[in-house]
Symmetry: C2
Subunit: 499 residues, 2 copies
């Protein structure tokens, strides 16, 4: 296998964790006032008979599988009916329901029913059960279009008095407001754009609709990671940018490789420069990205456990550090903090380890989406406007690596831009794009309004879809204000729908 | 085979011709001022490499086929760029281009490029060439969603300077206005609803977006046929309504069957009551429907050759006619005029004959769409608000008949309402629904505005998408006015897009 191909297979493996969220019920949220000491919201778990393939009309296509969704009608106000619908993304839906407390808080205040719908092929929504990931063939129906149609049919059932999924009196006229973060934020925006007769308005949080090859911004995702470090820890930029050249020199000799392996506490020493690039560097890159994405003001166990303000936390490692070995050691300390903040990670790290609780099946599913349709252009660096090793995005190599991982598939990197989201975004309405200015996803999100009711809400002190988290005493004022503004739009969309 | 099943198979066979248009270049149109004695517009024929399956990402799905489109940039004004794009429906695209002169006239006046894009599986756009209709399996990708995606990718190429299909300088910013009639009108509305970033505005002519089981109006399509006859020929209603009972009585005896066969000039005498219901009645019903749909003020060869004002033309047959045999004979005369106005149809008719030039492949393709997704609820009668034999729509029998015609398919009659067009139509913008008040399709079209820029344009003296025809000295004032109003919206959409 050539070096570039290896690199891209590893890139693919890393990409999964960029967009993935694995909430761990780590937050105490004031969600259910009757819950007393309970953590998290109270809901029922339901199963909906979902059509396998919405876009063909054969007996095979019309097979059904069980789609999981979580439902609460506790606060549902039939005289002013609204449904808050989380468009599930690439993870078990229970995690999103447990962590995204703002949806529950708003629902309680505004009298809305709450639905968290699980995305097909994730969590327990597996079209072929335990066999789901046995073959690439089984993954054919894992697309955003299918997922959106799943949600549309589920919503129709929730509002249909003749359905066993009917939410109850008033639901037939209810205004549906969708919520989503990250890939879920894309889905929330897409469903409003594509189904304006089904969804009244959408909160799309950390939704990088233009982070695709056709529409990606200059500077890009990795530039934004660097920007967050620049703002929180300016002294880290020069050292980090210098490390790549230093490491390349070290990797040229067995002694250097040994030293590197020791500095980064690898259980298995590096055996080659290629292994360093494809393994260690991907691991470092992921750590730097996550530190920025998870730069929340209080401890959160989201991409693995982290302290509050993690970028500030790693900053002292770079105090007085120049370039050379010192810089590499400082970087290694920052990376170690990310992967092993609690110390439970042990004395050394395996190169293949990923943060959080990502299951192999989750990674298999998300990588499939990433390799086929959701080709988020997160990588691609120049070393000038970012502090990474210069490595332009190479779509051809990427597609080739994907075809190795999933024999028989084809990467169509232009598709999302063609089918979903023009740049500028024309003809859409009733969407709030909530952008955390610490979050690199904002590099691909609309930062100016895209029409009278397509609002860019830029939140100074927020990392990855922080606006959707439950209220916390440590919330910065900018986040509190943004949540209030979001709620005002939601109230307005409901009023419009019910008018 | 049970009677009801036979009936529905015949219904399916009839339905194809309801929505189908087979223009025959019969109109002299002032389209190309340099054309001299030429008939019809001047264009180039192009072929676009289209993706077979937009919704899967396998090697098989990514196979391409040649999609035909017709293009003229003769009047294209690069300083105010616009593209008029006909979203082809179920027939050869050359026919639509030849007959829908209003698009060419508007393009010449407004400086727009013109594209007529052929719908997959029709005309010469056959994904599997001559083998296209050999198996039901080959038809899997014959859906409106695939067709819309075809148009979206074609539009992207037309506007892309890097594509060999680029229309030329200015095209990259051009406002795309879509046009369509009948099923093409649905597609024109759908593409604006689903791709508001691609299409600036849509003229949807005779587009019965609600003529589906979930949303069909009371009275319905056949009631509207009756309404058109009532307005143009009130003396026909009572006789026609009486004929069904008379014919049932006649069909109860061999003598009666013989007499019926003679009255309707059938080459092969009827052998049973069932044959009368499933064969002769479907033939009669189709004739009555077409007479209303084609009720244009001048001779048009569209659903077969007809005189101007065909409903008025058949009216004298009913002068002084009551019920009983006289009524059946009057009806037979009207039916004969429809099927054999020119006399070229010969002395007698085969029950299986269809009007116009419908090819077997066209019927095979449209019936597939009609059986799977485009389940237009054209039939369904009560004999009270319409003059047909009471026969409520039976979706179950319909689906069963479809599964016999296309083994392995599944009818999903709720799908179009769920995925495309809520009732009322919420969240859409920049669409004109042009409804001819003589046209039974108007029974399923929005007749009141569906929002500030979703306009219902009801045209008193127009039959099936008459507004799209080229100008003619015999045009009624209401049609002339409607075309002017349509043009004003088009001008406005272009200005908005280019602002």
């Amino acid at each position: 296998m050539k070096k570039s191909t290896m690199l891209y297979i590893n890139v693919v493996a890393v990409m999964v964790v960029l967009a993935m969220v694995t909430p761990a019920f780590g937050l105490e949220m004031p969600l259910d006032d009757s819950a007393g000491s309970k953590r998290g919201p109270v809901y029922d778990t339901m199963w909906f008979d979902q059509i396998l393939d919405h876009f063909e009309f054969t007996v095979e296509a019309s097979m059904t599988f069980k789609q999981r969704y979580l439902v609460s009608t506790k606060h549902f106000n039939a005289s002013r009916p609204a449904i808050f619908f989380y468009t599930g993304n690439e993870g078990p839906i229970t995690g999103f329901a447990g962590n995204l407390g703002q949806i529950w808080e708003n629902a309680a205040d505004l009298g809305a029913a709450v639905i968290f719908a699980e995305h097909r092929y994730y969590g327990e929504t597996l079209p072929f059960g335990e066999a789901t990931f046995n073959t690439t063939e089984n993954l054919r129906w894992l697309t955003s279009e299918q997922a959106l149609s799943d949600y549309v049919l589920l919503i129709a059932a929730l509002k249909d008095p003749a359905s066993s999924h009917y939410l109850g009196q008033g639901a037939e006229n209810a205004a549906v407001i969708t919520f989503g973060g990250s890939y879920g934020g894309l889905l929330s925006a897409y469903i409003r754009i594509k189904y304006p007769g089904v969804v009244a308005g959408a909160v799309a949080s950390s939704a990088p609709i233009w982070l695709f090859p056709e529409t990606q911004p200059a500077g890009g995702f990795l530039g934004w990671v660097t920007k967050t470090f620049t703002a929180q820890c300016p002294q880290s930029i020069k050292p980090i940018r210098s490390t790549w050249e230093t490491m390349l020199q070290m990797a040229a000799t067995p002694t250097g490789l040994k030293q590197l392996s020791s500095t980064f506490s690898l259980c298995q020493p590096l055996s080659s420069l290629a292994q360093m690039e494809a393994g260690l560097w991907m691991r470092i890159e992921a750590a730097l990205i996550y530190l920025a994405m998870a730069d929340y003001p209080y401890p959160v166990d989201y991409f693995g456990p982290l302290p509050g303000n993690p970028v500030e936390t790693v900053c002292p490692f770079f105090d007085g550090v120049g370039t050379g070995d010192d810089a590499v050691e400082a970087l290694a300390s920052a990376v170690a903090l990310f992967y092993n903040y609690t110390g439970e990670g042990g004395e050394c790290f395996a190169l293949s380890a990923t943060p959080g609780d990502f299951s192999l099946n989750q990674m298999r599913a998300w990588n499939y989406q990433f390799c086929t349709e959701m080709t988020l252009a997160e990588l691609g660096s120049n070393g000038v406007t970012d502090f990474f090793y210069p490595a332009p995005l190479d779509l051809k190599a990427f597609a080739a690596a994907c075809a190795q991982l999933y024999p028989g598939i084809v990467t169509r990197p232009d598709w999302v831009s063609a089918t979903y989201t023009s740049k500028p975004l024309r003809g859409a309405s009733n969407i709030v794009f909530a952008n955390g200015l610490l979050d690199p996803c904002t590099s691909g999100s609309p930062m100016v309004d895209q029409g009278p009711s397509v609002v860019a809400l830029n939140i100074a002190d927020a990392a990855h879809h922080f606006d959707l988290f439950g209220s916390n005493p440590a919330d910065p004022q900018s986040v509190i204000d943004a949540r209030i503004e979001e709620r005002e739009y939601i109230v307005q969309w409901i009023a419009e729908w019910l008018a």
